[in-house]
Symmetry: C2
């Protein structure tokens, strides 16, 4: 089968064996934001047309392709949701020469009635946890970091943190921009930011410290960048991590997951990094249970 | 004398009696950001030239005019600092037909060695606290909110929160911008944001809730604006306010101080709003102690 994680700004496509082994992988910048409505079929053919003519007839899509701005809307499924629940709520896409289905996103609501949503991450989570017996925490860091608690094979609940997007907004659209320069993360400055996040004062106060450390202590621009990153990730971890977290599975691109793993270990936790092929694994698990025609 | 709070984006000028009574007040958009270096004198003459020809010979300036980007740099004075300390560290400006001095900003450092700074707010704080016998907390909300603890007539320590600037960055430069519209603050939504800030999850998670409440609960754009405002002010208050705060003096423009007073009262504290003429009062107090030639 073909599995595609089709997001807002890019897509990842995999040609998969029945057992989930990856035969071939492709990435493309044709995220749904770049595609006018009605143009999803030609983009799909551009991307994996040769796999279709090569004999594939099953395509499973996950990610923002199932949103209102995507190809066909795949309504959110409420948590808790396990792999069987998700596989039995796929949305079909009319397509002449293949069977196409879209994985639903998930919705949850905390004890105070505030909803949270994900779309695409549920598939990566299933890729990591489908074979796990013990409860576990999965972290998917990024623009909107997701933390999901999985038990008994079901995604019980999750939370989103605007860490990546807040980092971009603070570092480019506030006074902090004047003394920050994107650079490879300096480990000592990152650790200083992490430590600062544990102190009193809160994020809104700590962030101003990026400015004052620069003005008064002469901290450099690259160091300020790493410090702000540590601050924000530290505040995310303060809220997301607790003594019951166990070993956190951190899923994503290595540059980001290594930062999170380091941060979690610095705070006394344990974590493992898992790369983005978790999405392919999740799609394969769902594909094995999907009601193909 | 003439007192001027000369900030980054605007200035406020007052013609003052010896006892601090305001004879006349003026505001102008000629903040230091709008003025090329070397052009401060003509802008001063444009703004208060008639007061000089009318007989005033003493001008006291506070605010960003004393920064490195201002007219003459007035170095930061360390906390704790009382009115006598500040009045004895004014910086003179060479000027042909008047005696001009600039009030220094203040610098503090917390127990973890992170510095904090203010410039202009120290004068407003003195305007509020110069006659106060008991210790008190002063809050100056805004782009960079300041919270100062004043005891024995001295500004003991203070903290800055990037609340206003973070609000602007999050509401215009993140995904939240899609479902937010600036509007008069809706009290119920503001209160909901304040209450949310008391719950677990942290600011980075709570902020994403603005998006999910809009998508899943159909919350309107004006309501989301007020909710985000309540969230951010709530997180500021979580860190700034404690059981020992007593009655907080909230200094600033009425639209903003009323929000903060409401928020502090909602959290069980007490607060009073004080308008921006606190700056004039502070300048008068300092002027009465200044070493005029």
């Amino acid at each position: 089968m073909i599995g595609i994680d089709w997001g807002t700004t890019s897509l990842r496509a995999w040609r998969l064996e029945r057992d989930g082994a990856i035969i071939e992988a492709r990435t493309s910048p044709r995220g749904i934001m770049t595609i006018p409505d009605g143009e999803f079929e030609p983009v799909l053919r551009e991307t994996v047309g040769d796999w279709l003519t090569g004999g594939e007839t099953r395509i499973l899509l996950c990610g923002m392709i199932g949103s209102r701005q995507g190809w066909v809307e795949a309504p959110y499924l409420p948590c808790p949701a396990g792999i069987e629940d998700i596989a039995s709520h796929l949305t079909r896409v009319a397509f002449p020469d293949a069977d196409i289905m879209i994985v639903p996103g998930l919705v949850t609501s905390d004890s105070n009635g505030v909803p949270d949503i994900m779309r695409g991450e549920e598939t990566q989570i299933l890729g990591v946890t489908a074979d796990a017996a013990a409860p576990m925490m999965v972290c998917l860091p990024g623009t909107h970091s997701k933390w999901a608690f999985v038990a008994g094979g079901r995604i019980e609940q999750f939370r989103t943190f605007m860490t990546g997007e807040a980092f971009a907004a603070l570092s480019t659209h506030t006074i902090l921009a004047r003394t920050i320069r994107p650079a490879a993360i300096d480990p000592a400055s990152f650790a200083a930011g992490l430590a600062r996040a544990r102190e009193p004062g809160g994020l809104l106060h700590h962030a101003f410290g990026v400015r004052t450390r620069s003005l008064r202590l002469g901290i450099g621009e690259a160091e300020s960048y790493a410090y702000l990153s540590g601050l924000l990730i530290g505040h995310e971890l303060n809220a997301a991590l607790d003594d019951q977290s166990g070993t956190v599975a951190v899923v994503g691109a290595p540059a980001l997951t290594s930062l999170y793993v380091t941060a979690i270990q610095t705070l006394g936790g344990t974590a493992v990094a898992i790369d983005e092929t978790a999405g392919a694994t999740g799609l394969a698990h769902l594909g094995a249970r999907a009601p193909w025609t």
